[in-house]
């Protein structure tokens, strides 16, 4: 079965072109690199902020930048994105601000709110529950006669949940314009993928639903970008859903509350940096093709640093969370139980006798 779903790649770990069927431009390569560097800077900063106690538990993604950014770059305004709690590089690329992402991890509900005009659903904390949503939103677009599409992000563990299968099946039955974007990073917390499932690939699960399933090198941002673009365009043409398995690797823990040394050889993880890292391979490619420039990288780095430092300031200067936000958004029209509880609690807070 593995042979039927070969891993598509454009650029190998050494920065060599292995497939030249898509046109690469210097601008595209540099833009992808810039986006990945921005995301990596955010990720590393967030891990540090968590360690300093300035944000709560955080879900890092370092190593998965290519999968998230390549795919998100294939989406257009008006499309829908359904991320998990780990897909900040994707949501950042699609329109979330750094501040919004940081607020989420500071335990602020404001971190769930997308900017005006951007369809970014709040991060799915339960596993795989966002797949049927992506299908439904795509069905709605199809009924409205638009050419907008949905993309749903999920990990390898999610493919064990019922919602994964239900989301794919509905999409198949209703030919919904949705891209199911799997990041197979090898582990669902401590459980390696070979204990998660007995099938050799995730892409082959598409066969059950008679939809297209493809595997892509998830650390090759260019392959991810072009393959997602093809799936998105196919969906826009009304030709139904696609399941993409991006084979990737996350260097660090599931979250900052997790200790990967209990179940994984971290030395292996570090060795992989030199072999498959998504940023390093672009650097190598640019170097080989004569347009790598340290000075340019430093400039990009400085821009990223400034943006992120400013976002940290904004996050930390954000006004205190408003108690009324807790009570005020449960229903569109207030109901008496919540109004009574709010009034009594605010009165108690003011020291008045209730």
């Amino acid at each position: 079965m593995e042979n039927q779903f070969p891993i598509r790649q454009i650029l190998d770990g050494e920065g060599n072109i292995t497939d030249n069927s898509d046109e690469l431009t210097e601008d595209l390569v540099k833009e992808m690199y810039r986006r990945m560097l921005r995301a990596r800077t955010l990720d590393r900063k967030s891990v540090n902020l968590q360690r300093q106690g300035r944000i709560g538990t955080y879900a890092p993604f370092e190593g998965q930048e290519a999968a998230q950014i390549g795919s998100a770059s294939a989406m257009e305004d008006g499309d829908w994105m359904f991320p998990t709690y780990r897909d900040h590089a994707a949501t950042l690329t699609f329109g979330h601000s750094v501040t919004t992402i940081m607020l989420y991890w500071k335990g602020r509900v404001e971190g769930c709110v997308p900017p005006e005009g951007k369809n970014i659903f709040p991060p799915a904390v339960p596993i795989a529950t966002q797949l049927p949503h992506a299908t439904g939103a795509a069905m709605a677009e199809k009924r409205k006669g638009s050419d907008r599409v949905s993309i749903a992000y999920f990990g390898d563990g999610a493919t064990s949940e019922g919602d994964f299968h239900e989301g794919l099946n509905f999409a198949s039955v209703f030919k919904a314009p949705v891209v199911f974007f799997n990041q197979n990073n090898g582990y669902a917390i401590s459980v390696p993928v070979e204990k998660q499932m007995n099938s050799k690939t995730i892409a082959q699960k598409a066969v059950s639903y008679d939809i297209e399933g493809i595997r892509v090198d998830g650390n090759d941002v260019l392959a991810v970008y072009f393959e997602t673009k093809k799936a998105v365009e196919k969906a826009r043409r009304g030709e139904g859903p696609t399941l993409i398995e991006a084979v990737t690797w996350r260097y660090g823990a599931h979250t900052t509350a997790d200790d990967p040394t209990k179940y994984r050889d971290q030395q292996l993880s570090e060795e992989k940096r030199n072999q498959i890292d998504p940023l390093l391979r672009l650097e190598r490619y640019m170097e080989k093709n004569g347009f790598w420039d340290e000075e340019w990288k430093n400039e990009v780095m400085n821009v990223c640093d400034r943006e992120i430092e400013q976002a940290v300031e904004e996050m930390e200067a954000y006004p205190d969370a408003d108690i009324n936000d807790m009570f005020g958004h449960v229903f569109k029209e207030p109901v008496w139980t919540i109004e009574k509880q709010r009034d009594e609690y605010l009165s108690f807070k003011r020291g008045e006798t209730v």
């Binding site: 904390v125 339960p126 949940e161 019922g162 917390i189 209990k262 969370a321 807790m326």
Partner: protein
């Protein structure tokens, strides 16, 4: 019978007592199995199963695929066919995909088959707020399960009870939801006997004797209520603090006896107020002690809102101050 001095004890935290209870039962009964996400090599996300896979092997302490409905559904199949599975939900707020399996199958197989089949399984789940966890992780949705005919619901508040109640739950012939108060997991240590013992399901505990008001709590809220009770000693308000320990079936005799004595009651829980277990406690008080009441029963509960993001969780959770306020209201009515 051994005297207390002959019983060897260890100072354990609540989560260590859970591990101890699991180990005791895995040693004693071949048919006991532990299964769930990350329970094996990783020892559970809270380390509640730490070391068990190494001691008993992966065939008895099983890492499963990531699928709550699958974990509970296969546990039902194991339970009807001779095993005693102890399934872990990483957080109670992650139990919702498994709700169908629990509601439509685990809890009613006995009645559907006139006891031809039974489901002796335990679902363990950390629950509750106050640890700055991300969304969904902090839900206290116990009333979804007390409202489920055929399920028992158990919530220890201290290490001794955690081991004894867990062993009783595993030995129980029917399905039990075993809620573990995660804010109390490592809050303090207490003496826990090394040997096997049980704490009877359906029986609460009186933690302090008092004359003026009965304060009723469970799980994480017991220590919060204890703080309130201690503070009120300075005001010469004498509180009787009850830890219910089992939410279904309730210990109606304990509640009735206490409220008959004090004539007043304050119920404390962190789940949303509407539809909460507090209403069932209130119903027991109405039925068993109505004519003894000297003031309306007070409830201090979470609000009818989704558990908020952690920047507001301290506003949501009952505090000692809110509890003392309610107690004073009951006493001065």
């Amino acid at each position: 019978m051994k005297t207390m001095t002959e019983i060897k004890t260890n100072k354990l935290t609540l989560v260590q007592a859970v591990t101890d209870g699991l180990r005791t039962m895995l040693r004693e009964h071949e048919e006991v199995l532990v299964l769930g996400e990350d329970v094996g090599q990783n020892g559970g996300v809270f380390r509640a199963t730490d070391g068990l896979a190494a001691e008993f092997g992966e065939a008895r302490v099983m890492d499963t695929p990531l699928a709550e409905a699958g974990i509970v559904g296969t546990s039902i199949g194991l339970a009807i066919n001779g095993f005693r599975p102890v399934a872990e939900m990483q957080f109670l707020g992650f139990v919702y995909p498994a709700y169908e399996q629990i509601m439509t199958h685990a809890s009613r197989i006995r009645s559907r088959t006139l006891s031809r089949y039974s489901v002796p399984m335990v679902i363990r789940a950390p629950y509750g707020g106050g640890i700055r966890a991300p969304e969904i992780h902090s839900d206290s949705c116990e009333s979804l399960f007390t409202h489920m005919p055929g399920m028992k619901v158990v919530v220890p508040s201290n290490p001794y009870d955690a081991k004894g109640l867990l062993i009783a739950a595993i030995e129980d012939p029917d399905p039990v939801l075993f809620m573990e108060p995660m804010r109390s997991y490592r809050a303090f240590k207490a003496d826990v006997p090394e040997e096997k013992y049980t704490v009877e399901l359906g029986k609460g505990a009186k933690l302090t004797e008092g004359e003026d008001v009965t304060v009723i709590a469970w799980g994480n809220m017991v220590s919060t209520a204890q703080k309130a009770v201690d503070q009120l000693k300075d005001d010469n308000i004498s509180c009787e603090l009850l830890d219910l320990r089992t939410l279904y079936p309730l210990d109606k005799d304990l509640i009735a006896e206490s409220v008959k004595k004090t004539g007043r009651a304050v119920i404390v829980h962190e789940a949303p107020e509407t539809g909460g277990v507090g209403n069932d406690v209130l119903s027991v008080i109405n039925n068993e002690a109505f004519l003894y009441l000297r003031s309306p029963v007070q409830k201090v509960a979470g609000f009818d809102t989704p558990f908020p993001f952690f920047s507001l969780e301290e506003e949501y959770l009952p505090t000692p101050e809110r509890i003392t306020h309610a107690i004073k209201k009951a006493v001065t009515f």
